[in-house]
């Protein structure tokens, strides 16, 4: 399956805590407006690729206090009615795979609502490769097995542009779940 995604900015009004809600205004344009997604399945294995324009990649943030890393994640619902924009809710979890430009391995994420995100090292057989070329990132996750995706056949995507100080809920996201069948 190949798909062109128009991304939106995650609304700041929904963010947990009072600071982002009150101190930030929603940007007119998402930091990353468009992305291309490609999903292939081979038996139980998945290959998920996202590519997007990024003129100013940030791959190392270890030497200063104000820099944020480029990241991307694919998320799958853990139950049929898990809500995408809040990253699930109690009893209705979501699962995700996260790439950060400063890490070799991806991170596995589970959440039951904003603020509950747990990041862990990935299961065996979850890997990621990334390349930045001519102003564009291409990130490919290879996932040996992902039962939540297998069961619900839906994904959502999020892109954090480090140069725009994206992090946490300040991100560009797909406007809802999208089915992985064309």
């Amino acid at each position: 399956m190949k798909k062109k995604l128009d991304l939106i900015s995650a609304p700041t009004g929904l963010q947990p805590g009072n600071y982002v809600k009150e101190a930030y205004v929603d940007p007119r344009e998402p930091s990353t407006p468009k992305a291309d997604v490609e999903v292939t399945q081979n038996g139980k294995a998945w290959q998920l690729t996202l590519s997007w324009d990024c003129p100013d990649p940030v791959t190392d943030v270890s030497d200063d206090t104000h820099r944020f890393i480029d990241s991307v994640a694919f998320m799958a619902p853990g139950t049929p009615d898990a809500v995408w924009i809040t990253m699930g809710e109690e009893g209705k979890p979501v699962e995700a795979i996260l790439w950060r430009a400063d890490r070799e391995a991806p991170l596995r994420v589970v959440a039951e609502g904003w603020g509950t995100v747990e990041r862990n090292e990935p299961p065996e057989g979850w890997t990621v490769t990334s390349a930045w070329d001519k102003g564009r990132w291409t990130v490919t996750f290879n996932i040996a097995e992902w039962p939540a995706l297998e069961a619900h056949q839906q994904l959502a995507a999020a892109v954090w542009r480090g140069a725009a100080r994206n992090r946490a809920g300040l991100k560009s996201v797909s406007p809802g779940w999208f089915p992985i069948e064309a």
């Binding site: 947990p16 805590g17 943030v61 206090t65 820099r67 992090r167 946490a168």
Partner: protein
Amino acid sequence: MAREKYATNVKRQVAMVLDLNKCLGCQTCTIACKKMWNTDTGSGYAYWNNVETMPGKGYPANWQTTGGIDAEGKIKRGEIPTLDTGYGRAWTFDHQEVFASSGNEPSQKIWIQPKEKNVKHGANWDEDEGVGTYPEDNHYFYLPRICNHCEEPACLHACPRGAIVKNEENGIVMVNQDRCHGYRFCVEACPYKKVYFDPKRQVANKCIFCAPRVEEGVAPACARQCPGRLRYVGFMDDEDGPIWKLVKKWGVAVPLHPEYGIGPNVFYVPPMSPPQLDMHGVPLDEPRIPMAFLEQLFGPAVKDAMNILLEERERKKAGESSELMDLLIAYDWNENFKLDDGTREVFS
């Protein structure tokens, strides 16, 4: 939209008072804290306790101009200071080179100096610069700063991870680094700029008011090591303790930037200063440190605090007794600290 208020469930609040009339700017407090808690390589630049010269840019540079709340009580968007222009990178030195050069002619000696070139700021960058014209009105004073362990901590409410907690037993505000994902909304939101970020470990860190010591009834290292004996530590509600006496009973200790509206629990006895001189060297009625500047830092309550201090000082000068002056002089250092009833802090 006005800022939401938050209820806290803190049973007792620990607090500190610092008498700015006695600070020597020696930085013993800074080093006591740094060596005890904060030696990770990614935090080389970060001083949970710092002492800055006022008036001055402070540390991080211009911290008073970022964050806080506006006139309508709405939270302002803060900034994350950078290492180069905000905090200043930790300097490195080539001690070997200096040792090897000893014994040469003075002109050939290599003196100790930071390896870094084009340094733009540092933790004690504008030390002793101050403002004014000698001898008429030149002045400066030292302002030691730690986290204020606020009633409504801006950092705590800014964290989407719930990684910052205010301890119910003593009101100390701490970062749970296991939950921290390095988003730095806390760094942005704190108007005192007292949350730091370790870019190597990608987690926030801050003053813990020496919580493990406080739990044992022992004052924080910055207070205990202070040769100026200017720091007082205790619980806000302890009417036998130094905090209640200085803040509530005598009203001579006032918080830094009360207008930020988040209820700081560190208080300052404002600095008295000698008079300005006219062009003939005759003393004027105006103190060298202008009241307007102190009001900028400590709000309007500093005026009354100053008047009480001056009155009590006169009483003491006249040979009368003054509980306030005796406490501020720190005749008995044990009076400076009162945490656990059973603990005598200083043995004489």
